[in-house]
Symmetry: C2
Subunit: 133 residues, 2 copies
């Protein structure tokens, strides 16, 4: 059993971007779908699809990775913050800009999986899943 499926997702995304793949597959989970939705809302990926695999125990989340005008990776950095062995939380009042607004944090909150910008608007804190820029 995988100890940290979210860390695995972020690593797969990092590796796929490194070798300029157009998309990357990860085993489906609701939390990962929430992360993908946040990445799409914040413009870090094109979109994603839930792919049903016949006779397989788990569906696939297929993420369409984005590249910019100079072929640059739109995701230059994606790093796990909270970990199974060391959970990290952030209160509403501590939600600050990431890299002066150039980056985001993704949080698991009572209102779903949100970016730090969205969490501030919704007036919720939560667990800091990862940082992205």
């Amino acid at each position: 059993m995988m100890t940290d499926p979210i860390a695995d997702m972020l690593t797969r995304i990092r590796n796929a971007i490194q070798i300029e793949r157009p998309f990357v597959d990860v085993p489906y989970s609701n939390v990962k779908k929430g992360i993908a939705e946040t990445l799409e809302r914040e413009g870090y990926i094109w979109d994603f699809h839930v792919v049903e695999i016949e006779d397989a125990p788990q569906n696939i989340l297929r993420v369409n990775l984005k590249y910019g005008p100079n072929g640059e990776r739109v995701i230059q950095h994606i790093k796990r913050l909270s970990k199974p062995g060391g959970r990290v939380y952030c209160k509403i009042e501590d939600l600050v800009d990431v890299l002066d607004g150039l980056g985001i944090n993704i949080l698991s909150t009572s209102k779903g999986i949100l970016s730090n910008r969205e969490a501030r608007k919704e007036h919720v804190g939560g667990e800091l899943i990862c940082e992205v820029w």
Copy 2:
């Protein structure tokens, strides 16, 4: 000198999709930009950028290629119709659905570069640049 830069653009797109590249570069021209704009409006590519290359005689058109839920190429087929050695035109009344609406034709018209659907709405015919599905 290249005899048919548009055929070259379509070939580069076909080849890049074949090997699942996230984007493809072609030497810039206004007609090619019009084709890219039409492909974007019709949902066949994510988007494109005009990239200026310092000290180079020609800019680059960078096209972000799209892949679907099953990793399938959103452009399965892209083929030149009108050619320098044999121009093909289509009158308004001859603008028919391509593959029952699953595909498109791209036309050079008096109102710019348009898909067959758009040309019909604009009531113009024109030169049939290529077919896409």
